[in-house]
Symmetry: C2
């Protein structure tokens, strides 16, 4: 590929010409993205930021972040799992999970039970307090999910989940 062939994508958009010294004020929404549009990664990143912020805001009162929620959900659905198993399932490094569990255990939502079968590992359980708390978190998470629906549309959300089902 030659430089002139590349220049076809790189050429500045015709509707403006800022020049070297900057001329007039330019709004963010009139700046061309060119090749950036059409990149799945960029769209996904922006969407991920939006969805993340809405989750944090919606679960703000209970002070639960997405990763913490995923850990609680998996433990709640599979009591007795080891830290390794949870980390593998969620794609979290086991080193990172240590701090997450430290925090959740400090808040009395999770407890680490020394495993009889394998004395290296811990069996993870929700506390009673953790179970009732998780129930509340799930209600708030469902509310957040409705925000997503309102943003991209009900059918689009379901289609999205279907497309990305292989990554869960």
């Amino acid at each position: 590929m030659t430089a002139s062939a590349a220049r076809a994508d790189t050429r500045i958009s015709p509707r403006k010409r800022a020049g070297n010294g900057a001329a007039r004020r330019i709004d963010a929404d009139e700046i061309g993205l060119d090749a950036l549009v059409g990149h799945a990664g960029y769209a996904v990143r922006r969407f991920q930021i939006w969805i993340f912020q809405d989750f944090v805001k919606t679960l703000g009162d209970v002070d639960i972040r997405p990763t913490q929620y995923s850990v609680l959900t998996v433990i709640g659905a599979n009591p007795g799992l080891s830290q390794m198993a949870v980390a593998k399932r969620l794609g979290i490094e086991r080193a990172r999970l240590v701090h997450l569990l430290d925090s959740l255990e400090q808040r009395k939502l999770v407890k680490r039970v020394k495993s009889k079968a394998d004395r290296r590992s811990h069996a993870l359980h929700l506390t009673t307090q953790g179970e009732t708390a998780l129930a509340k978190f799930k209600r708030l998470a469902a509310e957040h999910e409705r925000h997503v629906e309102a943003k991209i549309g009900k059918e689009n959300r379901e289609r999205l989940l279907q497309i990305l089902a292989g990554f869960t």
Copy 2:
């Protein structure tokens, strides 16, 4: 919502029962996620991690990360933009953009030109070297995009871009 109603989602899956002391070995792919499946944010996060890693790997030889690529693309398509304009357009904090541009300027891909019109701001331009480099980056990014197609399917990728078009 009562606690018993919540327990319906929280109940452990019937096909295993780890108990409190851990019993047999459990593979990661047989751990139930329950409510986590059906959360758009979780699926998007996992997908975003995958796509990010593939981008970094595919553009590994030229040592360009997704954010750097987006900055170069926007500057290439809109020469003369201020740092504020680029930051706003890409949803990056202007404080963060400073370091990104420091790195790109050090690699002689971008130059900050003192603006005549507004002496507070810098007009951003690609260097000649930066333009030819960006052309190569775009070829590699296109290759990455083909990886995405191979992963989720051509039509699913296009559908995804369509659904998320509002966030770009």
